[in-house]
Symmetry: C2
Subunit: 371 residues, 2 copies
């Protein structure tokens, strides 16, 4: 079975949508934040913890799994779900973003991208077909088309060519896709150019994918530009398909994305921040290394309901982090992920009650007041 | 309340004892392996996991907590249990072993030991009184006397003087100990010298501690010598007090210790091995980095009942470890700790059934056959 998106409600003042996504590994409500499990694990955490904090779906990275342990090992294990012991939905990206951001000495030709491995400098060549074939073997619930993800800014002419290339690559991937249980998403590109976003969206939708992503964000642009990139695309996406904004995990960006009609988000930010001692709180981000927390025996965020906040103090987590104890990063990863997932829960409530703009105002006012 | 040891049964063919230890934070059966939570956490794990794998008690290190976060922070948090969210029994060591093994530029005088911090080279001075005062503040269930822990080998004369010093230090610690809810253990030293072990045991027992440890093992001696160190001491320890062999965590050493009358063991080995990709199995130790496990979709040890073995394969754990994912060390820490705690559970059963020597033979035969 392919995924099925159910539009449950549209918010009255915005483009926000309440929905549910049915997959072969369970159904979850949207908007939803998706934790990133780069190498077949959400760093430091086990699946039971991800479930407890409300993760409806997780993401894993095709590029990383291709290099380690290799898609054949995952296939022999019975697919990614079985390999990593996660029985909920999984989305795999195409590897495109990693090739363009991590790898060195890139050479983009029509056939694909040749580049050097970020691990050992080995020469590699990734094509739209290979990306899809790897994802078929990983057996994720949702595969992404292989796209070109240019940095910001590039010239209009560069982006125009790039959009055409991404459309051709999307078609080539669709043609070789061969996994009845796996859905395939198209990706809208076009940078900050309104007409290119529209063109990319319309042409991608013509190919009739199972869902649509907005790519090319979080590549160096400012926030207002990112919001525009979303606004330029969503009006042309079908209402009966799910929409995924790639690589966005800042709390305010998630709210702004939802307001503009986005259903799913992913980002390494919550877990990466956690490993660097940073925590989201309702009053903005805090750094647990700060000396002022040395004898602070309150939880990281008094408004949070996560395992970490129910059981540990800032003083303890600060001690773990300043002592280089990995448990500190684990506890903050739980908190930061729960923070974003709870945010999407509250956004769903606000959509139900047609109070999304009011919710945004209150959230931002508090978040920017800082600790 | 001080701890209370109940001798439940003596095994017929050996000196092994089945017992239970009552503490202010719960009662557990002995023999028991005690996981090491150096810096107020058993590396990578949370208390719920330690409970699930059967930990009756954990150890934490006075030296490390003295340096980070400082005993005053722990005291202000409400003691070590509250600080680290572990409501079971805690034993703190005296810092003696760390001073002698970790610290640099040691100078031992009658007053105490001056040395340089292993963290920043800062000059520090630890005395028997200060060690006990720190432990009083940490508020562990069991504190250890501050002892001199010489390396192996030293001359008979050196050890003779050292034993006297340890006795004097034990008395000085006892005199300042001031925590009604905390028990205090004496430590038997004496190296490999039978008469010094006997003398140290008799004199320490005269001081009437709440329990007794055997120290000065795992400092470079061979296994037969270590077993002798235990044999030289246990006959002089009272039957109604618990006995703790410090720093021993090899499975066969635990069996040999139990046979010689030991009740409690601790060691960093299971968690340290885990972080270096090593796992205990019934057929000996394995290194998960080994290429032969790349497509091994069986559990780490088919005879293990731990969370890791129930849910993950060698191939997956190998992938995590070779990808430097911390989850690998976490999963192996759970397994290795459960391995040793299950071993002590089986030793308790063997004592009940008077089949300890038979158990030893079968265990060792299989363990040394290797994978």
């Amino acid at each position: 079975m392919k995924i099925k998106y159910n539009l449950l409600k549209k918010e009255k003042d915005t483009m926000a949508r309440l929905g549910s996504l049915e997959t072969n590994h369970g159904t979850f409500e949207t908007p939803m934040f998706m934790p990133v499990g780069t190498l077949a694990n959400v760093k430091t955490l086990v699946p039971e913890e991800l479930k407890e904090l409300g993760s409806g779906i997780i993401l894993s990275n095709t590029y990383h799994l291709w290099l380690r342990p290799g898609e054949d090992v995952v296939e022999k294990a019975g697919g990614l779900h079985k390999f990593m012991n996660w029985d909920g939905p999984i989305l795999t990206d195409s590897g495109g973003f990693q090739v363009f951001s991590l790898a060195k000495a890139k050479d983009i030709i029509e056939e694909g991208v040749s580049f050097k491995s970020h691990l050992d400098g080995r020469k590699l060549f990734l094509t739209p077909e290979l990306s899809i074939q790897i994802q078929n073997k990983l057996d994720s619930d949702i595969a992404m088309s292989f796209d070109e993800c240019p940095p910001f800014p590039v010239t209009y002419d560069y982006m125009k060519n790039s959009v055409e290339r991404t459309l051709i690559w999307a078609k080539r991937g669709q043609d070789v896709h061969n996994n009845e249980k796996q859905s395939l998403f198209g990706i809208v590109q076009g940078g900050e150019f309104e007409d290119l976003r529209k063109y990319s969206a319309l042409k991608t939708v013509e190919m009739n994918f199972d869902g649509y992503s907005i790519g090319g964000t979080s590549v160096g642009e400012d926030k207002e530009t990112m919001y525009k990139m979303v606004e330029y695309a969503t009006p042309y996406l079908p209402e009966d398909k799910v929409r995924y904004l790639m690589g966005v995990g800042d709390p305010i960006d998630i709210i702004e994305g939802v307001i503009r009609g986005i259903d799913i988000f992913d980002c390494v930010l919550p877990t990466r921040l956690a490993r660097h001692a940073n925590a989201f709180t309702r009053k903005g981000r805090i750094n647990l290394k700060n000396l002022k927390f040395k004898e602070d025996f309150t939880s990281v965020d008094p408004e949070c309901d996560c395992y970490t906040c129910k059981n540990y103090t800032k003083a303890y987590i600060r001690h773990l982090i300043t002592s280089n104890e990995m448990l500190g990063g684990r506890l903050l990863s739980i908190h930061n992920l729960r923070f974003l997932i709870k945010l999407t829960e509250e956004l769903r409530e606000a959509i139900k009650e047609d109070k999304l703009l009011e919710y945004r105002e209150k959230f931002i006012e508090k978040y920017e007041q800082k600790n």
